[in-house]
Symmetry: C2
Subunit: 296 residues, 2 copies
Amino acid sequence: MIIVRTFGEVRAAAHSAVSLVPTMGYLHEGHMSLIGAASQTGDTTVVSLFVNPTQFGDSADFVAYPHNEARDAAIAEAAGCDIFFAPSADEVYPLGHRVTVSVGGVGDAMEGRFRHGHFEGVATVVAKLFAGVQPRRAFFGRKDAQQLAVVRTLRDGLRFPVEVIGMPTVREQDGLALSSRNTQIGKGVRREALSLSRALFSAADAIEQGERDSAAIAKIARSVAAATPQVEVEYLEVADSMSAAPIEEIDRDAFVAIAAKVGGVRLIDNIAVDAVTLATDRGIMLDKQSILYEED
Amino acid sequence: MIIVRTFGEVRAAAHSAVSLVPTMGYLHEGHMSLIGAASQTGDTTVVSLFVNPTQFGDSADFVAYPHNEARDAAIAEAAGCDIFFAPSADEVYPLGHRVTVSVGGVGDAMEGRFRHGHFEGVATVVAKLFAGVQPRRAFFGRKDAQQLAVVRTLRDGLRFPVEVIGMPTVREQDGLALSSRNTQIGKGVRREALSLSRALFSAADAIEQGERDSAAIAKIARSVAAATPQVEVEYLEVADSMSAAPIEEIDRDAFVAIAAKVGGVRLIDNIAVDAVTLATDRGIMLDKQSILYEED
């Protein structure tokens, strides 16, 4: 594996078609599954590490975001990365924030309501990665379901010839979806954080038993979440997988998404639903503790 | 030369690096000089023909824009085109106008003041062409000086690895800058339309004699334009070549730009100025009548 700092170096170092895994670092088993899948394609696997300031609404949140390049590079290499691309802010934003990409309505609901400007930040930085790295494939986690819809919209809208692959959410042993933010959850409310996945799994159970009505599904999930008063739900929605627009019933591929604050930490999670079979994808459960909790 | 309709066909047909010439059709000697220069690189030369609706403020103007694909394909082939790419609106805008690219201040002055939304339309369609065609080089006319600044800003901001080459303005025998719009100028005001280039050339004379002050340069050019009352000047500015921002004196590479209406037809023109030598680039004069006036 080599570590490079510029888009030009990535292009010069890539001797075959590229599979790209964009990350904001502090890698965990979710990222490792993306890197592993990219590596298995036989393409040159590029992992980018860039904590993108424009997708943070709150600058305190940006400053607090964990950052450890040496740790991330070691994990990426072990997972199969060929080129580790850790650019400076100047390399990504040479003109500051003058040039931006908007994706319209796909970013308006759910996260868009609570994180103003977030998806414009995501779309802009992913456009730069697609334009500057020129990958053939790009891998994203399904945990960020609306982000995946935004990326596909960006790809289709700007005509990037990139196959966008969504990989299943990876969960800790107790069901909590992996996120670098999990390390910020206080021990006193760790059990309460499981309320999110529990709510979604109850929704998944109802769907697999034939429930297609979004209001009924949301009601079940909300009642589970409400049993944990320390969890402050921001939204709980059933949404179209492609457009990320809330839908009234599951008549197309969809996801059930939740966002909630637990002890001051904002968490999101979702499960995917196949419209035809009503099978749900709840993700993959780790059988041991996540590397997130290993000492540096 | 082959004619193709989709981005995928362009990529499949290009067997070497691509030099791209984006056009809105109704080709003239200005476009031919771009295609010739692209062809001389030895790259696969792709000429795109797409009349982009989003860069017209006025839908009547869009509808009136001349269109003749067979004529354009023949001219492109004669000039050295390998792949003639004439996509449908659906191929360029599969999601309608959901995904857009903004370039900030570079599009605000001059044309931006008179053609609201124009440069967002230009930036968005050029981003699609860069993303979908993946050219190594792209050729644009310097006649659209602010557009060239917008394209370079887009390229730098979104990190496209595309060399953007600006080619000199080509002028008719009498000095009028070539534009498909020239065919719309009524015979009764054709002589009056020369007021634009005359005004710019008088500015160029003053600059080459050492004048660097923008107000003084503009005053000279305006007084020449004012001698033709049928010409309604919209703006006359001295602007930074890279940022397209108006400047008070020529202390960096610049252009002097004019926009005016002549008999209901809106025309633009400019001359480029080298900041060090104060040499001006007035473009290239044809020695015979333009192909614009040949019968179809």
